[in-house]
């Protein structure tokens, strides 16, 4: 196809504008900027400004209501020192790490990979049914699945108690962390499964067969033929699910952080502090700390990815 711009004779009036344009399309700097501007404005209003606002809030005693809501005072780094010294923050951070480690890194990744691996050689009908079911957990709205799980785990007349024959067991009260970890595995496995299904499709069949011919066990096949080939996919998947899980707010819909803060992961902690108790400044400080933890996680994964290429 001939590009539409390849007109042999340029109209005389357009020549000066063309001359100053250094870009391929010939828009010129100003007109190009005009095209990008709306997007930039959106980014500024909805991303950059809130981020800066959070930074500002973090160094004030801003509250949702009361005197400090109208006249916040600058308090310097006091919010941050308070956060870092706060026992509830430490507990929450530890719970969040359990949540991420248990549900994202171990649960979703291992289960997602296992489903992808097992489904690899199944008939298409079986594979599609399983994939559809797993995906369903992922695409349903959070409020809906939270309600489903409340019904499942309910103390009186809950589905799980009926199935197990353990009436009166208060799963959400007795095992709040385990409940939200299992819940999040159930909910998020679809992503890992899909990613690993695609990744496994990239492993040449002849590599798997080479391992088979040598007499390799499943574990040896995974170690020698599969994992080295999909290491990049594994790290990418881990990075994404770790960050998503770290910032996930759905547990609040199930346990609301309770009982006694025993399932209060950081996102819930921020919410309860900033909006529940109205301490916006303190909440903003926690948010920034969360962001730094996220950055640390991301950096660690990206390092690992880069080491692969080196």
């Amino acid at each position: 196809m001939v590009p539409a711009t390849s007109t042999p004779a340029e109209p005389a009036g357009a020549a000066p504008a063309r001359a100053e344009a250094a870009d391929v399309v010939g828009l010129g700097r100003r007109r190009a900027a005009a095209f990008v501007a709306p997007a930039l404005v959106l980014v500024l209003v909805f991303l950059v400004f809130p981020a800066l606002w959070t930074l500002y809030l973090g160094v004030t005693d801003y509250r949702l209501t009361g005197l400090a809501a109208t006249r916040p005072h600058f308090v310097g780094v006091r919010n941050y020192t308070d956060v870092l010294a706060d026992g509830r923050f430490h507990d929450s951070l530890w719970l969040t790490l359990q949540f991420v480690g248990g549900s994202a890194v171990l649960g979703q990744t291992v289960l997602g990979f296992a489903v992808a691996w097992v489904m690899r050689e199944r008939p298409a009908a079986v594979r599609r049914t399983v994939e559809a079911l797993v995906l369903l957990a992922w695409i349903l709205p959070g409020s809906v699945v939270a309600f489903l799980w409340l019904a499942l785990l309910d103390r009186d007349g809950g589905t799980l108690n009926t199935l197990l024959g353990t009436p009166g067991t208060a799963w959400l009260l007795d095992h709040p962390m385990a409940s939200i970890i299992v819940f999040n595995i159930w909910r998020g496995t679809a992503f890992s499964m899909m990613l690993y299904t695609a990744a496994l499709g990239n492993v040449p069949p002849s590599h798997l067969e080479t391992a088979k011919l040598a007499g390799a066990s499943t574990w040896q096949t995974l170690r020698d033929a599969v994992l080295p080939k999909i290491r990049g996919h594994v790290l990418t998947s881990l990075l994404l699910v770790s960050l998503w899980t770290f910032n996930d707010f759905t547990p609040y819909l199930i346990t609301a952080g309770g009982p006694e803060n025993r399932s209060e992961v950081l996102s819930v902690y921020v919410y309860r502090t900033a909006l529940g108790e109205g301490r916006l400044g303190f909440g903003a400080a926690i948010s920034l700390v969360m962001l730094l933890v996220n950055l640390a996680i991301a950096t660690a994964y990206l390092r690992a990815l880069r080491r692969r290429r080196a």
Binding site: E209, K212, L213, A214, G215
Partner: protein, 362 residues
């Protein structure tokens, strides 16, 4: 030392595709054996069934005196080279070669010694520390061969061993593989769709079509006396002339020419439609009239290097190809005669080669 024996082997794929159809085959011990056929003929499936990567639907596979039909690939004692070589990119050449030994739990020292020994015999000694990505196509192929050899299997299986190499390298690898196979003396099956490759390398060729073997023989047999029209049209770089023919007065009449019959005809063939086959290489071109020859006008002359492939259009519109040696090429438009060399022409009846035995029996 071990042969491979297949009996009544059938492989059905889900969906009703029968890739291998009740096939019997005995590969003698130490043979360099080609499975040759067009794509989709079941040759690769057959090789993979011998390897154990596919399970036979029915029938048996025997390697040596063992029935391996139900054994997993790892316990069949076969070494296989895949079309794409399937080298593990994260392992060095040495680790790749020693891989089967590692799975067999051989010690590190033993593995390294074996890898070094095999590598040296294939001219890879200097490359042991490299990664597959740092090797040329030919070197990668030799690493794959070395890996297949490292565990000293009883049978080698090569899937399209030359197809990933460029034309020049392919000739080199052909010679190399043949020499290596004769030195090792290990029974080797290879799959190819290239008849020239099969003719050049194999001791024995099985020509396959639609899951069955259409002819089994040495390259010379398969080339000179194709058992049926399928093999006749498949084998040969320049396709064989296959001309509709009839027997008239003890002579074969084809494309307007009256030719001596290659087999004794007793008369019951009279009037039956037969096919007369002769390779372009076995026709002699003459610019002057000759008896018992195809006669026609030269329409195309294709240069093959040391000879030319000349196409004659006979009176009935049938095209006959003749290979003409250099310096004797006619020009398009010339008249020409093509004489079949004695003993080199064939007659097919109902698609099958007629032999004197059959003619006598009939």
């Amino acid at each position: 030392m071990t042969g491979v024996e297949l009996s009544a082997l059938t492989k059905d794929y889900p969906g009703g595709v029968r890739a291998v159809d009740g096939l019997d085959l005995a590969v003698p011990d130490g043979a360099f054996f080609a499975l040759l056929g067009p794509s989709g003929c079941g040759k690769t499936t057959l090789l993979r069934t011998v390897a154990g990567l596919e399970t036979a639907t029915s029938g048996t596979v025997r390697i040596g005196d063992r029935d391996v039909t139900r054994l997993p690939p790892g316990r069949r004692d076969v070494g296989m080279v895949f079309q794409d070589y399937a080298l593990f990119p994260h392992m060095t050449v040495a680790d790749n070669i020693a891989y089967p030994l590692r799975i067999k739990k051989a010690g590190k020292a033993e593995r390294h010694a074996a890898a070094a020994r095999v590598a040296a015999s294939l001219g890879l000694a200097d490359l042991l520390g490299r990664r597959p990505a740092e090797l040329s196509g030919g070197q990668q192929q030799r690493v794959a061969l070395a890996r297949a050899m490292a565990a000293r299997p009883k049978v080698f299986l090569l899937d399209e061993p030359l197809s990933n190499l460029d034309a020049r390298l392919r000739l080199e690898a052909r010679t190399f593989l043949k020499k290596l196979q004769h030195e090792l003396g290990v029974t080797t099956l290879f799959v190819t769709h290239d008849q020239a490759e099969a003719l050049a390398m194999a001791d024995l060729i099985a020509v396959m079509e639609a899951g069955r073997i259409r002819q089994l023989g040495t390259p010379a047999e398969v080339f000179r006396r194709p058992a049926n029209l399928f093999v006749a049209s498949f084998i040969g770089s320049t396709p064989m002339n296959l001309v509709d023919a009839r027997v008239v007065d003890g002579l074969v009449e084809a494309a307007g020419a009256r030719l001596p019959s290659p087999v004794r005809v007793v008369g019951d063939e009279a009037g039956e439609s037969l096919v007369y086959g002769v390779r372009p290489e076995y026709l002699d071109f003459s610019p002057v009239p000759v008896d018992g020859a195809f006669h026609g006008r030269v329409v195309v002359v294709e240069n093959l290097g040391t000879s030319s492939l000349t196409t004659l259009e006979t009176g009935g519109g049938v095209l006959v190809h003749v290979v003409v040696p250099e310096d004797a090429e006619p020009r398009p438009g010339d008249e020409g005669w093509a004489v079949p060399r004695p003993g080199r022409s064939l007659l097919y009846r109902g698609g099958e080669l007629m032999t004197d035995d059959v003619a006598a029996a009939a």
